[in-house]
Amino acid sequence: MIGLHLRFAIYGLVFGFALARIGFGDFTEVHEMFVLEDFRLILTFGGGVAASTIGFVVLAKLSQIPRRRFNPGSVVGGGLFGVGWAVTGSCPSIVLVQLGQGHVSALATLAGVIIGVALYRPLHHRYLPWELDSCSM
């Protein structure tokens, strides 16, 4: 059994490599997906969801996988995230992939992401009544 850190290092490496090879780290490709000029990335994502569904159904007992309750923040938060993704070309993994590709300007995005994550929890507990949800592995 290899160590926890080594295993997650490998997962990160493989995921970062593949995201870059798919082209998710390329703002132009991402923008062409969002303005519906090029369907390759959206097919990759949609196909990835379908492939995961098949994998979960065939290889895993779906009932054993914890399901999450409805979280009102998933709508408002999702809406804010979509605007951010459109103007930066970055979701939380992609900003790191962009950095790896040598895009120094992704540091501006990363600074923003870190500030956003750091600010959110105290703001949530101060102003919002529902329980804060996380997808932490």
Binding site: G16, A18, N71, S74, T88, S105, I115, V117
Partner: protein, 212 residues
């Protein structure tokens, strides 16, 4: 040999197969669901209060907890109450199935390792393709859409805050809600994914209009 082996971006079916294998593989190997924004939260947030409490309880000796509870009960209700409780427990059939223990939280350092290695993975990919380049913009399209130069950097910083706040509020991003959630038809993930793709498409068309 097809051009995507070493240079071009992968065709959609290859990327899709990878995502499926990766998400399900992580589940089978680790019994965890892929979720990158969760790793940011775990890496950045100073207080993981609930988590800390859970970990302390995890680490504590169960016998010591039992002893402490017994002492407190004796003090509050006397030995008769304890004897009565023990009699009841002995009489009652224990038919409760053991509940599957929730996965222990990953240490913060594991989340940070995972995030840092995303950078390394992106670098290896770009180096192998021969496209690695130190540059200070995201390409001509991004420059044209967001004003270029310092304005573009400000847009990136502002957009980054939206990504950070938004994914933390939603409790997931493209991986946690998009891949892990949608593939299992989890309602909150389906709604979130539809919303972020919707606002991203609307914003991108708006950028096109404004830049024209």
């Amino acid at each position: 040999m097809p051009s995507w082996v070493f240079h071009d971006y992968w065709p959609w079916w290859l990327g899709a197969t990878f995502f499926g294998a990766f998400v399900v593989g992580i589940w089978l190997l680790e019994r965890r669901l892929l979720g990158v924004s969760g790793s940011y939260a775990a890496a950045i947030e100073l207080t993981r209060q609930e988590d800390e409490a859970a970990r302390r309880l995890d680490a504590a000796d169960p016998q010591a907890i039992d002893d402490a509870l017994l002492r407190a009960t004796l003090e509050a209700f006397g030995p008769e109450a304890v004897a009565e409780f023990e009699k009841e427990m002995a009489a009652a059939p224990s038919d409760t199935a053991p509940v599957a223990a929730p996965r222990k939280l990953l240490p913060r350092s594991v989340h940070i390792t995972f995030l840092v290695m995303l950078v390394v993975g992106g670098a290896i990919s770009a180096l192998a393709r021969g496209t690695w380049q130190l540059r200070f913009d995201l390409g001509v399209v991004h420059e044209a859409l967001t004003g270029g130069g310092v304005t573009s950097l400000l847009v990136l910083g502002f957009g980054g805050v939206l990504v950070g706040l938004g994914t933390r509020m939603a409790g997931g991003c493209t991986s946690g809600h998009g891949l892990s959630g949608c593939s299992r038809l989890v309602p909150t993930s389906l709604v979130s994914t539809a919303t972020f793709f919707g606002t991203a498409i609307a914003t991108s068309f708006l950028l096109e209009v404004l830049a024209r």
